[in-house]
């Protein structure tokens, strides 16, 4: 049934594109609303009738994966959820994958956020991923959430030298200096790796400028695709790896499942979303071709 749905969807899309191509040869432009319909079908069809493709990690993704794999057990990792619900579909899969990976490797993880909206999304990861998949881990001993603090770069300016001054307690009100985790964490320099997940400001770039470089802590980033180009200047010196958009999330999920087979059965939203992304990209490319043909034909007619 699903295969039939996929076939019918592809016939509709490519048939429609062929018709538009024929119209463009006649020099006729495509109306905006027709483009919207095609995009809707291209994105909806792979969601209703799942199409997945194999993914292979690119070097920028693999290097972050290898970094987390190579850290000794009980390494201290800070994960910052710096995004809002709008970015959630793109970025949450990588936040979940990175959290899973770190906890599976036995690292001690501190969760925080620089965006007010990030706190609820962090809570969602704790409730839907960490607690069900790692029931043996103890909050306060193996991982801890310190929540959100207002101040943007001001927060980073403080925690780079004194973490507890900015976050005296965790989200449950427990003083941090009474927890096992913070016995030997005084500042960001005490972390072995910082993972900044987000895409706006404050976000990964601010982590590199205000914490990674001054405190000499390696930073890994997971960002929305549109922000990834801005971080390439920092790779590989200040940023050890970049997960860019849904593709980055899909690649990381694939690597994680390959290295730790118990995650093969968990939901992989990044991989799932590559189907719609791939088909949508193909449709956009087709429209670019159609638009250029229409332009050339119209120009020739005018001449």
């Amino acid at each position: 049934m699903e295969n039939l749905g996929v076939i019918i969807s592809l016939i509709i899309i490519f048939g429609g594109l062929a018709w538009l191509f024929w119209r463009s040869v006649q020099g006729r432009e495509v109306e905006r609303r027709i483009i919207f319909v095609f995009i809707f079908v291209a994105v909806a069809a792979p969601i209703l009738f799942p199409i997945t493709f194999e993914e292979k990690a690119t070097p920028v993704v693999k290097s972050l994966f290898d970094k987390i794999e190579s850290l000794p057990e009980k390494s201290k990792v800070l994960i910052s959820f710096d995004y809002d619900p709008a970015m959630q579909p793109e970025v949450q899969p990588m936040a979940n994958a990175l959290s899973r990976h770190c906890l599976e490797k036995g690292h001690t993880v501190v969760f925080m956020c620089l965006w007010a909206t990030g706190q609820s999304l962090l809570t969602a990861t704790l409730e839907s991923v960490i607690k069900p998949e790692f029931p043996e881990l103890v909050d306060g001993t193996d991982y801890i959430s310190v929540g959100y603090k207002a101040g943007n770069e001001g927060v980073l300016n403080v925690i780079v030298s004194d973490f507890i001054r900015m976050f005296p307690t965790d989200i449950n009100g427990t003083p941090l200096d009474s927890t096992v985790i913070f016995q030997d964490i005084k500042s960001c320099a005490d972390f072995d790796l910082i993972l900044a997940v987000g895409g706006g400001r404050p976000g990964p770039k601010e982590w590199v400028l205000f914490v990674g470089d001054p405190a000499k802590v390696p930073i890994g980033v997971g960002v929305a695709a549109v922000v990834a180009p801005q971080l390439y200047p920092y790779y590989p010196r200040q940023v050890v790896g970049i997960l860019g958009g849904v593709k980055g999330a899909a690649e990381y999920e694939t690597e994680l499942a390959a290295a730790h087979p118990r995650f093969d059965e968990v939901d992989k939203p990044g991989l799932r979303m590559m189907g719609p992304q791939t088909l949508a990209h193909m449709v956009i490319m087709a429209f670019i071709v159609i638009g250029n043909i229409a332009m050339f034909r119209a120009r020739r007619k005018a001449e």
Partner: protein, 224 residues
């Protein structure tokens, strides 16, 4: 006087914060003033919220066009505020985190705000397509280069890039589409990004100096 005091404050604080970067005993000033700004911004929430209420109540009272939507705005505003302030249905007490799982705030955030935000963000998919259709035309040499680069990146971000170009031998693997896409991001794109970032940095220095020295004053209201 109306402009003199703000200009003096701008000058004094600006110079102080620049000097603080180079003088260790003043190093924490930057953080302190950031906290001051955050405190002021929080008080400004009252101004903004008050303005929002005033505009929509005014719309309701005078039955201006589209006034029913103001009821939606005011209801959402009031409900979210009450749920957060009074911790309605919150498993913890009044001092608990506002978004504790199970609270009304958590429910409304995840049931309403998250899907609404994601929906607006998803409009980008449609607008990217319509903008690409309109903008990526081979009108001249530069536009043609842009078009070719866009094609390679679009293909490289999908598995089809490898399917199409996987036959290319490893010795010239740079020309495999995914690798070509990565090269475009790492070389020409990176050069352009860095150049823009350098220009922006210098522009910020120039603008900041104009603000600190009082050469630029129009943001205070008026040129005098």
């Amino acid at each position: 006087m109306r402009q003199t005091i703000p200009l003096f404050i701008t000058f004094f604080i600006g110079i102080l914060l620049i000097i603080a970067v180079f003088i260790p005993p003043f190093g924490e000033l930057g953080e302190t003033f950031t906290l001051f700004f955050d405190i002021m911004a929080v008080f400004a929430f009252f101004l903004g919220g008050g303005n929002l209420l005033r505009v929509h109540i005014n719309k309701l009272r005078n039955k201006k066009p589209d006034w029913p939507y103001s009821i939606v705005t005011l209801s959402g505003f009031g409900l979210m505020l009450a749920a957060g302030l009074f911790k309605i249905n919150n498993p913890g007490d009044i001092a608990a985190a506002v978004d504790t799982a199970g609270s009304l705030f958590y429910f409304m955030f995840h049931a309403a705000m998250v899907p609404l935000g994601s929906t607006m963000y998803s409009l980008l998919a449609f607008f990217v397509a319509s903008a690409s259709y309109r903008a990526f035309r081979a009108k001249n040499r530069e536009a043609t280069l842009l078009l070719i680069a866009a094609f390679i990146i679009l293909l490289g971000r999908t598995p089809f890039g490898m399917y199409i170009s996987g036959w290319i031998p490893d010795e010239v693997s740079l020309f495999q589409i995914p690798n070509l896409a990565v090269w475009i991001m790492n070389s020409p794109n990176l050069a352009g990004q860095r150049a823009i970032m350098i220009g922006i940095g210098l522009g910020v220095i120039s603008m900041s100096l104009r603000l600190i020295l009082g050469i630029e004053r129009s943001y205070l209201g008026g040129d005098k």
